[in-house]
């Protein structure tokens, strides 16, 4: 087993990985940008080394630097977390060449699944169902427009190198096509350094359902059941859960088998995720594979009892994984809400700033994976995800009710967060019934962005009391007040009470 692991990431996921390291008796090494010197993940590590720089480019994407720090620190492996270098095949290769272990799949698997069109072809060859569309990247707008017409609108434009909704556009009709393709290409180019896109049929009433995969070096590839991530905003997941309210035993079994087949097709090792779309006819289509740990992995951890980071580390060290077979039955139900430093009232504009007060939710059935503390500065340089709340219940209803309770208890001052919006999602009738698609937020826009008016009068009244207090304080200063006497009396009274007990 590794004695030391370098964590090439920041925020909540860096802390998440360091915690498992600590529990496994493995030392962890943090690397950090200038901006992150005071971030909690730095002191959650056993060792920390400055990367310098402010932007991701200047810091967390500096792989030569990261590899040389890892070597100097005596680490045996590098864990990339999610985002940043986690799906960079060249990085994975460089780590291996430097004599270290990359905690993730082989570089070939990353490369294969990272290229959406190549992955598509591989799936078709292995009999895993895919969404109709172009198999190759397209650069010519006119040609692309012709294909889109052939497949039939609505269609999706997607970045060939992309993921996470960047460089993705939904096009409803021919008139929107050209502008969408240009802007998708621009965004893809900026995000991934590769502006090529491809075109895909848009699935009707789609639900986003993904399967967690584990594959070790002892010949075993299993799935750990599904997560549903249909609640998305601009193709960014907002709420995730396990199990899905849509699947039954039969469909879970079929999709699970397909997921295992997909992972085996690319020679996968470690933890990965096969994303599917399921349409209104309960047909499922391979969407893409995420060749890394997912943001939403905690819901799977809670309903299976596994520590997925520990499994990743074990597999990377050449040990067999813990689960002996596919997991098709769960322990209860888990829901995750992503807390972003964004203002839902202002179209989810980033809300940087200093956390002035923080008291997170606790109590039965609540887990938090947080990257911040009181006093933390949320900068504009990185992803605005600050924390993840996960609620468990013996059934879906209880998990949602607990999440709602936790969201309302959560105290965070100094920045705006998505909490008010998430409360609306948890309260929503269709969400509670389990009848929703990936268009949920769009379709319930009015309801989800409605202001909660039930407490408006309490807010109005509190402000009035505070206003009176401030005005009165001035009066009291000049006129003197009786308060001091009262509290003196109370002290005496208390002493007496103690004596006569």
């Amino acid at each position: 087993m590794f004695k030391k692991i370098l964590v090439a990431n920041r925020g909540e996921i860096a802390i998440r990985i360091m915690r498992t390291c600590r529990e496994m008796g493995i030392k962890s090494v943090a690397v950090f940008s200038d901006i992150d010197r005071s971030s909690p993940f730095v002191y959650h590590a056993d060792e920390a080394c400055a990367l310098g720089g402010t932007t991701s480019q200047e810091s967390y994407l500096q792989w030569q630097k990261i590899i040389s720090i890892a070597r100097r620190s005596g680490a045996g492996a590098i864990h990339p977390g999610y985002g940043f270098l986690s799906e960079n095949a060249a990085f994975a290769e460089a780590v291996q060449k430097s004599g270290l272990v990359f905690i993730g799949p082989p570089p070939e698997a990353i490369r294969l699944m990272g290229n959406k069109t190549a992955a598509r072809k591989l799936m078709i060859n292995h009999g895993v169902p895919t969404v109709p569309g172009t198999e190759d990247a397209i650069e010519n707008v006119d040609e692309a427009r012709k294909i889109a017409l052939e497949i039939g609108y609505p269609i999706l434009i997607k970045a060939a190198a992309g993921g996470g909704g960047k460089g993705m556009r939904l096009v409803e009709n021919d008139a929107q096509f050209e502008e969408a393709m240009i802007s998708a290409g621009r965004e893809a180019g900026a995000a991934f350094g590769d502006a090529t896109v491809y075109i895909e049929k848009f699935v009707e009433e789609p639900r986003h359902i993904e399967f967690q995969i584990l594959a070790d070096n002892h010949g075993r590839t299993v799935h750990l059941g599904e997560r549903e991530c249909s609640i998305q905003r601009r193709h960014q997941k907002v709420v995730e859960e396990a199990p899905s309210s849509l699947l039954d035993k039969k469909l879970r079994h079929e999709m699970g088998q397909a997921a295992v087949k997909a992972a085996e097709a690319c020679g996968y090792r470690g933890a990965g995720t096969i994303e599917f779309l399921v349409d209104k006819h309960r047909r499922f289509y391979f969407l893409e594979m995420n060749t890394r740990l997912q943001v939403e992995h905690p819901v799977t951890e809670w309903v299976t009892g596994l520590d997925l980071v520990a499994e990743q580390i074990r597999i990377a060290a050449g040990l067999p994984m813990t689960p002996e077979q596919n997991i098709e039955q769960f322990w209860g139900h888990a829901v995750e809400c992503r807390l972003y430093a964004e203002n839902p009232k202002n179209d989810f504009a980033p809300s940087p700033g200093k956390i002035l007060f923080l008291k997170s939710a606790d109590g039965p059935g609540i887990r938090e994976d947080s990257g911040i503390t009181q006093g933390s500065e949320i900068s504009l340089y990185y992803d605005p995800l600050i924390s993840k709340l996960i609620a468990w219940g013996s059934d879906r209803g209880q998990a949602i009710r607990r999440m709602l309770r936790a969201l309302r208890e959560y105290e965070i001052l100094g920045i705006h967060t998505t909490i008010p919006f998430l409360i609306r999602v948890m309260e929503n009738r269709d969400f509670n019934r389990g009848t929703f698609t990936t268009k949920f937020i769009e379709e319930h826009r009015n309801e989800l962005f409605r202001q909660d008016e039930s407490l408006a009068e309490v807010a109005a009244f509190s402000a009035v009391l505070q206003e009176l207090k401030e005005k009165n304080r001035v009066v009291f200063k000049n006129g003197g007040n009786g308060r001091l006497k009262t509290s003196n009396w109370k002290v005496i009274h208390r002493k007496k009470a103690l004596r006569t007990r």
């Binding site: 960047k166 965004e187 995000a191 009232k345 202002n346 179209d347 504009a349 980033p350 809300s351 940087p352 002035l356 007060f357 504009l380 340089y381 990185y382 992803d383 605005p384 969201l407 309302r408 208890e409 959560y410 105290e411 001052l413 705006h416 909490i419 008010p420 409360i423 202001q451 909660d452 008016e453 407490l455 408006a456 009068e457 309490v458 807010a459 109005a460 009244f461 509190s462 402000a463 009035v464 009391l465 505070q466 206003e467 009176l468 207090k469 009165n472 009786g482």
Partner: protein, 170 residues
Amino acid sequence: MKLFSQVNDRQFEYDYLDNNGDQHVLTGGKRLDYDLVSLGEGRYSLIKNGSAFLIHLVRQDDTYHVHIRGAYFTVQVEDERQRRLKELVKTSRSGPSEQVIKAPIPGLVLKITVQSGASVTKGEALLILEAMKMENIIKAPCACKVTEIFVKEKEAVQQNQPLIKLISAE
């Protein structure tokens, strides 16, 4: 003393009475039973007519930012005098109103989609601001005309930096 408390589009009215130190607040003629205790750092424990609340209350200029059970409100409080003053100012104002669009967040101006002098409809894109790796579209708040553009494409801007001046179309 009459107090007006404005929350979004709604307004609440209170009466404050002080009879030689016996202070109380009424609404709709009924006396309110309340107890507001500061817990420090802008946190308050409020009991109002028996109901309990944890309130986060921060004053910024003439606005109170209030959080209660995950809901967020901005509140303006005025007494009668302040109110009359404000109404005076309002009625004396006339003609088309000018408005400066400021950067809601620091970021990079990616693209400016309008030109000075252009007429735009409500919701029309004015410029694209990149921040936290996402493109944020700044839209027109009403039907209006662009009178001045303060920034250039590729320019980094600070929060609240003026971007575009508009004049409302009558």
